[in-house]
Each structure stands twice: as C-alpha cells, then as structure tokens.
Amino acid sequence: MYLTGKITKTLFLLALAALLATFSGLAFAADARALLKESESRHRTKTQQYAGELTVVNKEGKIRKKGWKSFREGYAGDAKNLIRFTDPPEVKGVGFLSVARPGAQNPDQWLYLPSMKRERRIATQDRDSSFVGTDFSYEDMEEFDHEKYKVELHGEQLVDSFPCYVIEAKPLEKKGKSTYEKKILFLRKDNLYLLREDLYRKGEKEPGKRMILSDLQQVGGHWVARKMEMKDLKKGSTTTVLLKEILFDKPQPVSRFTLQNLNREGGE
C-alpha cells in the first residue's frame, strides 16, 4: 500500500514536471515569436534601396571587389528584391529577382545574364549555390520570414558587447524547402535588430556560415546595418557588403520587380 502510494506520488510529480516543461517551452516559443514579430514590426519599411560595395576575400586572402544596386519592396513574407551588379565588368548587368509567393513556399527567383540576353529560373534545390561568386547563397538572398520557421528562445548572449536574445529558428518544411537545418539568430535587446545569424546546414552540428551585421545607424528614422558580412566557415572565405546611398520608403516604379525589368539590358 505504501509502495503504491509512493509510485502514485512519483508519477504525479513526473507528470507535473512534464507539464511545466511543456508550458515553459511554449512560453519560450511564444516569447521568441513575439520578439520576432515585434522586430519585424519595428523594422518593416515599405521599400529600401542601396548601393552595395562588395569585397570577397578567399581563404588565401585573395580579394575580389564587386558592386551591386539593391532594391526591395515589402518586407519578410511579402518582399520583392531586385539586385543588379554594377562591377566588375565580368558581372556588370547581371540581375537577380526574387519575388515572395504570399502564403506559399519558397519565393520565385530568376537570374539574368547579359551574355544570354534572357533570364534563368533558379530551382528550389539550387538555392544552396553561391550567388554570383559571393559567399551568399540564393537562399541567403531571401528576406527572413519568421512565419516559415519554428522558433524558440535560447536565452541571451553578448554580441559585439551588445546583449542579444538568442533565438533558434528551424525551417517548417510545409512552408518551403531550406538548405539549412536551423538558424540561430541574435537579436539586439534594445532595438530588436538582427546582429548575427549562424547558419547550420542539414546534418551538421557546427554552423557552416555566419552572417554579421554591424555599423548600425539611423537612416530616415530606421535602423540599418551599414556593414554586412557573410563568412563561409568551411571554405574560410568572407564577403563583406558596405551599404551606401541607403534610402527607405522611396516609391519604386510599378515595373521594378518584374521579369520584364530584369531582362532590361542596361537597366536597373
């Protein structure tokens, strides 16, 4: 009788512990989601455009410079992006268009090569490929949309001396395919701006890539990182983008984010 009572008590305690653990997990998840929602709400802009100065440094220290112009309309899950390379001559005129498919899976992506005079569609499984010789992949060029991820708060950590929330984001397969198993996001606590993103490829325990955003400034009332670094930790190479001529909420032409515009030779 005594033994039965002890077992019952133990089972009760275990059940209670499991319930607490579940609720605390939900609470963390809810916190992470709320933080990401708040971050999106604070930093959402109608449009953004900038001129990017890229420096690609490989493992041996060899430096390649590139330049692009970037245009965005919408944000996160409704974003449209157009990038047009301006330098060097080898890639000048190369264009990239990414259009989110609302409520659907991965965005549609196309690459325009002046030598071909027409666009090439990027298949979903190609999104791990390097984007025009940089350390960014086609997937990295997408806007982060937390609704496509299962998110969980993993405490706090200092990044570049700023206290940050650490959030784990795992792609939801039904919301699209990802080349990453998970992403660890570091959101600065005071302004909820993303400072770092560790990217884990599928089946890997260590991050394969790391994106670092720094040199935060206010432009037109919006926070923006003027420096963006993507490190390929396996290859040992780094691509740094310096953002110049940043403009927010400037109305973009209706046709900016269309295939017709992507195919405009010499156009933006």
């Binding site: 071909m116 027409r118 090439r120 298949a123 190609d126 010789g133 046709s255 017709q260 405009r264 030779e265």
Partner: protein, 445 residues
C-alpha cells in the same frame, strides 16, 4: 557549320578557261586600312567629355594553335586582337546604348576590308563593327519600345532552341557561336503573369560564313582535281527581314510560351554555279551564290521545375515553299540543374522531317539530330566550362573546354581547346583539321 559537297559530273568545266577573278574582291591595301583602323581604335579609347554615361569595354589578345595546317590556305597559328567599347547613357527614362568593336585577325582571308557595313551584310566581318546602337523608350509602366541595333536572345547558351536557332550567327570562327545583332524594333510588355514581345527586323542580317573551302568550312570536292576553289559571289541579301511575336507566362512551377514568325530566313541557301565554273592554272573555280528563302514558323515551349531540375520542351513547325529548304518539325528537350556554383544543361534536339538537301547546308539545323551536354562552373579563381556535342546521324561530335583564370578584377587569362572528332560526313567531324587550343588575355574596364 560545315559545308561538304560531292560534285560528281561537270561537263561544262572542260570548256571553261577564264581565270578566277572574284577572289580579288577581298584584297585590300593593307597598310592604309590598318592605319585608319588604328587611328579609329585609338579614338575609341579616348574618354570624350561629351560621354557622360557609363563606358565599359575590354581589350583582348587571343592566339590559336591548330593541330594541322590546312593545305594551301591556313597556317597552324592564328592571332586575333579585339578592342570593344560600350557606352550606356540614361536620357531621362530612355536608355541609350552604343558599342563598337575593332578587330585585327592575322588571317586576311577571314577578315573583310574596312568599310561601312552597318548591317553586317558583307561576306566577311569588317575590322570595325557596330554591335549596339539602340534606344529603349518606356511607353508606360508596362511597355517598352526598343529600336536600333541590338541582339536578341530567345534560347539557352550551349543548348538548342528552335525559337532562337534561326537568328543570324557569325561563323567566321565556327566554334565561337557568335550571334549577330539585328536592326530591329521591339515592343515588349506584360499584363500580370503574361509577357509578350513583338519584333520587326526591317532588314535581313545574313548569317556570315567562313571562307568556303577553308579549314573552317571544308568542302569535299569529290571528283574535282585538287586545287579547285569556290568563288563566293557577294550577292545582296533581301532588304526585308522578319517579324516575330512571342508570348510567355508562368503558372507556379510551370512556364508556358508560344511564338510565331514570318519573313526572310537569315541563313543563306548556297548555289554552286557549276554552269559558270572556270578552269584556272591550278584547277577549277566555281562561283557560289547565295539566296534567301522565306519561311513561316510557329512554336511552343513548356518548362517546369521538377525537383532540382528545370525541364524544358520545345516544338516548332517551320514552313517554306523553297524546294531546297522544305518544311521542318523540330523538337528539343532539355534538362538543367545547378551543381554548386555552376549549371549542367543537357539538350536533345531533332528534326522529324528529312531536309531535301544535305542538312549541313542549312546552318541552323545542320547539327540535328544532336545531343549537347554543357557544364559550367564558377570557382574562386575564375570559371570553367565543358561542352560535349554529338551528332546522332553520323556519330561525330565535338569536345570543347575552357577555363578562365581571374588574375585580378580586370585581367583575365583564358585557356581552351576544341576537339572535333568522328566521321567527316557530319558537321563536327568535318572540322577535324580545325582542332585547336587557344589562349587569351583580356583587360576589362
């Protein structure tokens, strides 16, 4: 593209005795022409203050080493220098682009004289040519009008697309697959997911062929005695060109398109005027004339993303009342996927209707049926490309490889080679003697 002919009976030849004089059409005063060319090219390099737009370009020196010397005509080595400059300017909302190319080829036979040839209608390429000269005027937010001289691209590089194959190429270097720009007017626009394009080219830009009988266009003269030459007559291509309409739309993972065109086919039909052949001290000289047939064509294209692959199918029906050209029913199926920083493209293409003449004389469909596999990749040091093309009728083919090393952001060294093989009955195998390697150094700005 290759020419090969078996000419069996020529009773008139014995009666003919006049010396071939046509070849003198291609002679020129080398010194004065080169002087003008050099002065002109130097002028192109000057950053004129009036040019406020963007100026880009490159200078390239290229050397070829051939496995064999082509008897009596082509040396084992060939040098090719190019200076290209492009000026792009925004005039309000209107885009203006102009580009010029200056060239020097050590083989005088492959290059024409320095003259005014704004539509590339001469037999040989001019040392200086206009590659772009166009305006693009936005009519409204969804429609653009482009007019002037520009290049069209309706197919895949290193593949075969019936929509694109008819467009004029410059085969002076038969391995380069260089498209010629056209004088044309193009209206393109979109409505939702539907994109449309209307092109009218008022003047025919003909395919440019290598010198007939040279290493790049070998002609098997059958029963002719050695020394027979083919005298290309500079016939004038028709003034009118062609008009085309193209529609494309995307539905999720699907892309669907259709097109139609009518007008003059830019690839010539060669007429060997055996009745006008003449005997020379070295053999016979046969005049070769060119004519251009009218052709109408319609086509469909369908592509879909399937897993990692983009699969594309194209079909085209081509109609001509010309007895040498005939009709054609061309289909192609291709699959493309990304591998790391590169793409792999494999294409199978064929013509369901046998042409009335040897297919090698029809240029845009000379390689059919064929399979083409192309793999290119970007590396940290540059990029490389491998292409294997195989003619399925004669069992011939070609392997092509190229690697470009980026010395810096503006200097690039390229090494490559082309290895045609197989039966000389096929268009690739006929180029067996043109096997070569090449090296190029380019400085871009």
């Amino acid at each position: 593209m290759i020419f090969k002919f078996e000419i069996k009976a020529l009773p008139l030849l014995a009666l003919l005795h006049r010396l071939n004089s046509r070849r003198h059409d291609f002679s020129f005063d080398l010194k004065s022409e080169l002087l003008y060319l050099h002065l002109f090219l130097l002028l192109l390099l000057l950053p004129l203050p009036v040019m406020a737009g963007e100026i880009s370009g490159y200078a390239e020196a290229k050397g070829f080493a051939y496995a064999e010397r082509w008897p009596g005509r082509d040396n084992r080595g060939l040098g090719w220098g190019t200076l290209f400059t492009k000026w792009e300017e925004m005039l309000g909302e209107t885009q203006f682009t102009a580009s010029l190319r200056g060239e020097g080829i050590t083989s005088g036979e492959q290059q024409g004289v320095l003259d005014f040839d704004p539509a590339d209608r001469r037999l040989r390429r001019s040392p200086v040519s206009v590659r772009d000269l166009w305006l693009r005027i936005p009519l409204n937010s969804t429609h653009d009008l482009q007019l002037g001289r520009f290049q069209l691209g309706w197919g895949k590089t290193d593949g075969y697309s019936p929509a694109d194959a008819f467009l004029p190429r410059d085969l002076t270097d038969p391995f380069a697959d260089e498209k010629l720009p056209l004088w044309a007017l193009r209206l393109n626009g979109y409505n939702g997911a539907l994109r449309y394009e209307v092109v009218a080219s008022p003047v025919t830009t003909p395919w440019r062929l290598p010198p007939l009988g040279s290493r790049n266009a070998p002609i098997h003269a059958g029963s002719f005695p050695s020394g027979t030459v083919f005298n290309e007559v500079a016939s004038s291509p028709p003034d009118i060109g062609f008009a085309a309409v193209r529609l494309q739309s995307a539905f999720g993972d699907w892309e669907v398109g259709g097109w139609g065109r009518a007008g003059v086919r830019p690839a010539p039909l060669l007429e060997f005027r055996i009745d006008q052949a003449i005997s020379t001290t070295t053999g016979f000289s046969i005049p070769v004339e060119r004519r251009y047939a009218r052709e109408e064509a319609v086509g469909i294209e369908l592509s879909r993303i399937i897993g990692s692959w983009i699969v594309r199918g194209e079909g085209a029906a081509l109609f001509s009342r010309d007895c040498d050209l005939g009709n054609a029913l061309i289909g192609s199926l291709s699959a493309e996927r990304g591998f790391g920083d590169g793409t792999f493209l494999i294409t199978l293409a064929g013509n369901a209707i046998s042409p009335p003449v040897d297919a090698s004389q029809l240029f845009d469909r000379a390689i059919l049926p064929a399979v083409i596999a192309a793999w290119n990749r970007t590396e940290e040091w540059g990029e490389w490309k491998l292409v294997w093309s195989a003619g399925l009728k004669h069992g011939d083919g070609m392997l092509k490889g190229e690697a470009g090393y980026n010395i810096s952001d503006i200097w690039k060294l390229t090494l490559g080679g082309e290895l045609p093989y197989g039966s000389e009955e096929g268009v690739y195998g006929a180029l067996n003697t043109a096997r070569r390697v090449h090296v190029a150094l380019r400085r871009s700005w």
